[in-house]
Amino acid sequence: MMQAHHVWGDQLLIVLLSMVPGLPLVMAFCLLYSPLRRFSLKLAPWTALTAVLASLLIHSEINLEVSWFFMGGRMGLDTTGRTFLLFTGLIWLISGLFGKEYLDGKGANSTSHNFYFFYLIAMCGNFGLIIAQEILGFYLFFGLMSFAAYGLIVHNKSDEAWRAGRIYIILVMISEVLLISALFLLVSKSESMQLSDVGKVIPSNITFLLIFLGFGIKAGALPFHFWLPLAHPVAPAPASAVLSGAMIKAGLLGWLRFLPLGQASLLPEWWGYLFVIMGMLAAFYAVFVGILQENPKTILAYSSISQMGLMTTIVGCGLLVPGNRSLVVGAVTIYALQHGLAKAALFLGTGMVYHVRGRCHKPSWWFWMGLTIPCLALSGLPLTGGFLAKQGFKELVYFVPPVTAQWLSILLPLAAGGTALLLCYFYLKIKLLAEEQCDAVGFYGLWWIVMLLMALGLPWIWPLETVIDRSLPTMGEVAGALGPLFIGVLIGLFWGLRLWKRTRYNIPAGDIVVLFSCFNGQWHGKSSLLFISKFQNLLKVGVKRYLPLSIEKIYMAVKHFENLMKRWTVVGSCYAVLLCILLLMLTYFQ
């Protein structure tokens, strides 16, 4: 069963590893059984502790076969997996604990077991895909997580939530079929189901595109990013936190596991450029659309798209550099780690402002102080995780082909400025919102502070695959980081405080989804961009009027045909004609 040594401690670790996805699953089903409900509701968030413990306790690379599981399973932890498991586990743990108080306070106690059912299943999926070491296990848990997240998104049962859920589930199905096609092609090429083997074969162009799109949907890559700004505002705060902090990182992990990184000499160049260009496009496009939003959670969603764009770019660099796989993986991992924790902290913080409890008072000064921390960290303030992540990225840029490197060295500070701008705008928006609403910071504030501390400290102390320079930055580096940050904040302040006249352009959340919205008649974006509404009308006329009409016609014809076939005279004569033809054929050919 096991490759490593048969020692007591190791056996325990294996049990621990199986409990990482197993315990949330068991707990989820306990929630369904009403006598156990109160008890298991209390324990539900704590099940994520197994993931944190596993990532802390398991040092050696564990890799064990579970042959009875689903056509041959294999689970284990490598260095990348450990880091992903750690920050994912922390986000699930803290958001879950936060959510318990949060949902209670909302007076939604009666439905909170519904929420935690989906929460635990999605958690199981997210942990499972990290420890899965063969493709079918990965695919299984990936699907489990994706489908369970639907329950989190629609939890509030508002019209917007149903709409977001519908769009989300359609994208999930598309991503599922893209991935299964990719897996078919990969396995028939590598003839192995192990992730370690699959990552080494060079996929065909089609397989590559399938992987890009299939995981890109989850990772919020262009052009399938639009579910994020729809889903985040409608989901409860802890759900948004795990969606943005942990679940979209699963798409990123998928790329790391399935793409042949660091083998540039064997790959077509355009693969890397596709990732780099789409990534950079997302990074800037999301900032542009984000600053036209009103809802703070939508702004954060766009910020996530932008940040995921940067991570996509890093993966793209990984496809462009020869060798240095570990450098690439390290850069992506630390970026994911710091973004996940910081973004989760931001979403939880937003939840605290939104949250109205019996008594009414405004958030205190420490809340606003605290909220600046993840904003600044994501913008790359020196001494924060964001700064470290950007340093890691810069180190990688030395290795990519010179022209790309040149472009990236111009674009990266701009992107950092964009991040600062967007988050500054977010900060102002949420401050304005807090003036209008009132709030009480309850016990869950504590869990928020824990998340903040993790976001601050973890990037510094967690051992990573590659040695990223974590010594104190030089003055030059500090200046290089502070420049874009300062300019971004400045523009953000100007923009957010309406110090110059704002245009009336207002892109609806989910931007390009308006192009598809004509397919369902219930919702129309409040789009004031003339060309979009024109295009929408065109589609509406074209698709809504003529497509169903022609489908209807075909449908009627088919129905008519089937009714005809029901008459025995028709069936009988068909058979007779068939027999005659066959007999004729026989006589003719012989």
Binding site: L32, S67, W68, F69, F70, M71, G72, G73, L136, Y139, L140, G143, F147, V154, K157, I169, M173, I174, E176, V177, I180, S181, F184, L185, V187, S188, Y555, V558, E562, M565, K566, W568, V571, G572, Y575, L578, L579, L582, M585, L586, F589, Q590
Partner: protein, 498 residues
Amino acid sequence: MSWEQWVIVFIFLSSLVPGMVIFTLPESAHRLRTFLNLSGAILKLILVVTMVVNIYQGREFEIAFALLPDVEFVLRADALSALFATLSSTLWLVTTVFAVGYLEGSPNRSQFFGYFSLCITVTIGIALAGNLLTFLVFFELLTLTTYPLVVHRGTSQVMDAGRIYLIYALTGGAIFLVAVIWLRVLVGPLTFHEHGLLAPYEQSLRIPLTIIFILLISGVGVKAALVPFHGWLPQAMVAPAPVSALLHAVAVVKAGAFGIIRIVLDVYGIETAQRLHLLSPLGGIAVFTIVYGSVRALGQDNLKHRLAYSTVSQVSYITLGISMGGTGAIMGGLVHLVHQGLMKITLFFCAGNLAETLGVHNISEMRGAGRRLPLTMGAFTVGVAGMIGLPPMAGFVSKWYLGIGALEQQQDWIIVVLVCSTLLNAAYFLPIVYTVWFEKQQGLWPDERDFGRWETHWMLLLPTLTTALLVLLTGLLAGSSLSPLAWVKLIVRTEYGL
């Protein structure tokens, strides 16, 4: 007679005798009838499992005698028979339990259960048939034993549907008969053989063999619901739920698919059929049926109609796998014989529970049914996930092997078909799941009955949960040596040497 032959005889008697006795029982003998039914079903399952274990150990089970001069009657259990026999007898047991619960208090139960037992006897005959003539005999008998079940309720609408079923099935049967006799005259005894028995005649009888193939496939294709012979299946949905379950998962449709497997693999042989260029058209029809059935399912509001069209589509996965040839694809097709049965029977049980407990027949009436029937609807969700082919359900295993097999045979376009089918399945099944779990109940249920402690009668609930669990376990434990997949691997390895 050796004990192996006695086992075969008793497998038949275990349902034949109870069936005959039940015919003579008065309507009121409820307990005795149930006892006979269940003990017969359990006995049969035990016998079949014994047989399977012994086949695994290399023993031979065969009975052969001449029915008429030159007409050999052969019952022989090879690994493929064992697969179908195990499936049928397992599902028969659960369906019997379900039927007892379902028909409680309705008239003519003795007649119903009598035919019910005959039906399974005949199905076992199809599974164990050792040559094409024996297969033919049981195949025709199947039509005759299932017809009374379809028209059990006896209303005029039901009789109409029954007539359509009879016309389709008898015409199919007649064509099949012609083809079998023709083939028998041309090549002599038609004992099933692993590599087919027509290879020697391939050159000399090219055209007749092609025509016979077309006739054979259109004969069994009626039962396998290949488009354009599928028209009877949605009609036959007027039958009671256990009969639908039986038609779709255990006996009729399965017998058709099994017939296609036998004809392609054991009569013609994969290589011969390939060289005669018979398989690509068959694959084409299968693909068309898969897509057509799913598209038609989209438009149905009646739950059982939607399930029926879904069967049309799903059963063709089996044909598709066989028609591609190659290890992976054949494995995918064969294992789907079992998997489709488990998944579809679960869904039909759920439809039956809805009808019996709440009086709900249409999808639009199912709003909020998840709160009222959580276990049933949980089983339904598992079945749906299997149908779409989501891991770790059974359906995914079939899809996986079909996809790998398609690439093995350089038929990459099949992947596109699988993708389309997956999306279509999701499009017509996921909205039901949404309606059931996420929408609120509106008004009262059409015809609600209270069953006390459980959400519905335990005899309706237990079979549903059992098959749902099997859908999950056959998928999740597909790698273990007890799974259908492991048995299919054995079939493919030992019998076809692939």
